[in-house]
């Protein structure tokens, strides 16, 4: 379990995360939801251990800052594309921490092959990473994370560049990790998809957590609407699945009354 107490993160003079207290359960998918600039990516990087913070952020009782003993996979929103690197080499990087850089054990080779099959990349392993389409690149990122066999996986907008078909395929890949007991923390713009896949939702606004809890409860909360300036509508389908849509009418009337809100 990850336990966060009074977490504050500053980037330069700016306070990006303020007084966050939160518990993230192991083996569960937790999704961070909020408008742009809410601090979701910063919280992911802090969970990874690359950003200094005040307060406390403990994973299994240990402060995470600069701790590289944990096995955490990180999937960025916009990856750097390494020039001249093949898909196979890229996915195999996931084994570097276990095997040592530039070395690969036989078991790692087998695992990488399995992961390539799981992510439908088998057959493309000889291609250069730079030649992959957006959807294939996203799958390669997920494949590398799977090859890491992580205890915790952090995903920044794993579906933002994908069409609906690829979104579902990537999300299913991620969901399969839960069977292996992996803790998943992601950000996601599409709140409907987030509520379909994640058990826990964390609503963030202006660097603060306004509410967190079970997805089906949070999705109907006033805090979710408030985080998006009351510009969303939540509908419930017959099956019980919530659908969140932008509220066009609300947006127009809001903009008429308080034009500075949209700025």
């Amino acid at each position: 379990m990850i336990s966060i107490q009074d977490l504050t993160v500053r980037l330069g003079a700016r306070e990006v995360l303020s007084d966050i207290s939160l518990e993230i359960q192991s083996g569960v998918w937790t999704c961070l939801v909020g408008p742009n600039g809410a601090g979701k990516t910063t919280l992911l990087k802090t969970l990874l251990g690359t950003l200094a913070y005040s307060g406390s952020l403990r994973d299994a009782g240990v402060e995470v800052f600069n701790d590289q003993t944990r096995n955490v996979a990180y999937v960025p929103q916009q990856p750097n594309i390494p020039i001249g690197m093949s898909v196979l080499e890229y996915v195999s990087l996931g084994r570097a921490k276990k095997d040592g850089w530039g070395r690969e054990s036989n078991s790692s080779r087998k695992l990488v092959k399995k992961v390539l099959e799981e992510t439908q990349l088998f057959g493309m392993q000889g291609r250069f990473v730079a030649q992959l389409s957006g959807g294939e690149m996203q799958r390669a990122l997920i494949a590398r994370a799977l090859a890491q066999e992580p205890e915790l996986i952090l995903l920044d907008e794993p579906t933002s560049a994908l069409d609906l078909h690829h979104q579902i395929s990537v999300l299913n890949n991620i969901e399969n990790l839960k069977e292996r007991g992996v803790t998943i923390v992601s950000t996601m713009h599409d709140i409907t998809l987030a509520s379909m896949y994640a058990e826990q939702l964390v609503i963030m606004h202006h660097g603060r957590v306004t509410i967190f809890g079970a997805a089906n409860e949070v999705i109907h909360s006033a805090e979710l609407r408030s985080a998006f300036d009351d510009r969303i509508d939540v509908y419930t389908l017959d099956g019980g699945q919530a659908v969140i849509m932008a509220s066009k009418e609300q947006k127009l009337s809001n903009e008429r009354e308080t034009p500075q809100k949209g700025v």
Partner: protein, 339 residues
């Protein structure tokens, strides 16, 4: 396109070995070739202290003129090509060049200062001034950028700014001291005529030290091609590796520049060429890149001293003559992300 290929094991000893053999063959050719030809047999006999070794003038020609010159070309070529490859990985920019961080302009200013401040008696101090100027410029770029650790791209920009500033001072000094124009100009074009055993000794020390460091961290340079967060999650400290890589590559570049002047394009052409031939990530064939860079410069120097013999062409002219068209070729081929 092959859909299957063996998982690379980081280094390929076959590629490294064959490039080392090619380098040895080219070096032997270069030592033998010149206004006075020396046979391969005599070269090997003399170097290995076998019977029937060269004597007298031919021996002096081989041991004190040809051999140091070829060795210096090997050292400088290996230093520039390896540094170029490492800079390209660190800055995630295929067109990064060992001179981009201000090393060239700083060294140029240092050399100009040596000529103007020490009036003619400068030649012995020139490498020292050039070395100090190059290192100082890179360190200045480093501190001005401030954001190197979070965003290596800003270091490239501040390197360009520091480089322009140093060039401006250099131009001013040259205008005020026109007698320095010609020697500085000839130094800037690059030359290996200064090769002597004392130059070889100190440059070999620094270049070997830098290259060994770079080879030791080469495998981890893969991680620098990713974002810092990904590199961290894969178990490396990207800031530390980046700092070591830039420091070692800068030391190698500054040493090469102070020993031989500004020899352009080796740092860009060779890594791209080797990457295209081996179809491997740059840092996985770093040793091959070092050998290829050395071989390229030995050949370029051979051209420099024989094409217009007995006159000598600046080696920088040869490397740029080959390098500039190749640079355009790489730019056009960039879309495949491979070349």
């Amino acid at each position: 396109m092959k859909s299957e290929r063996a998982i690379p094991s980081g280094w390929s000893w076959k590629i490294t070995l064959s490039s080392a053999l090619i380098l040895m063959a080219i070096a032997l050719l270069a030592i033998s070739f010149g206004p006075v030809a020396i046979s391969f047999n005599s070269i090997i006999r003399t170097l290995l202290h076998l019977p029937h070794a060269l004597q007298g003038q031919d021996r002096t020609l081989l041991l004190d003129i040809r051999l140091p010159r070829v060795l210096l070309a090997i050292l400088v070529g290996a230093a520039l090509s390896t540094s170029g490859a490492v800079y390209q990985s660190v800055f995630r920019n295929p067109l990064a060049d060992p001179y981009l961080l201000g090393a060239a302009a700083g060294a140029g200013l240092g050399a100009t200062l040596a000529f103007t401040a020490l009036h003619g008696k400068a030649y012995g101090f020139l490498p020292l001034f050039a070395f100090a100027g190059g290192v100082l410029a890179v360190v200045t770029s480093f501190f001005i950028s401030g954001k190197f650790f979070s965003d290596p791209g800003t270091l490239l920009l501040s390197g360009i700014a520091v480089g322009s500033f140093a060039t401006a001072i250099q131009t001013y000094l040259q205008q005020r001291n026109s007698q320095a124009l010609r020697p500085v100009y000839s130094w800037i074009l690059g030359e290996l005529t200064s090769a002597s055993w004392s130059v070889i000794r100190w440059s070999a020390l620094y270049i070997t030290l830098s290259l060994t460091t770079l080879f030791l961290i080469a495998r981890k340079l893969d991680g620098l091609m990713l974002s810092d967060e990904e590199a961290f999650s894969l178990g490396i400290n990207p800031r530390k590796i980046r700092l070591i890589a830039v420091a070692a590559a800068t030391l190698a570049t500054a040493t090469a520049v102070s020993a031989s002047g500004l020899i352009g394009f080796v740092g860009i052409v060779v890594p791209h060429l080797v990457r295209g031939l081996t179809r491997r990530v740059t840092n996985r064939s770093l040793a091959a890149i070092a050998c290829a860079g050395a071989a390229f410069l030995v050949l370029a120097d051979l051209g420099a001293r024989t094409l217009l013999s007995p006159a000598e062409l600046p080696i920088g002219v040869i490397t740029a003559f080959v390098g500039a068209p190749f640079f355009l070729f790489v730019l056009r081929g960039k879309r495949v992300g491979a070349a």
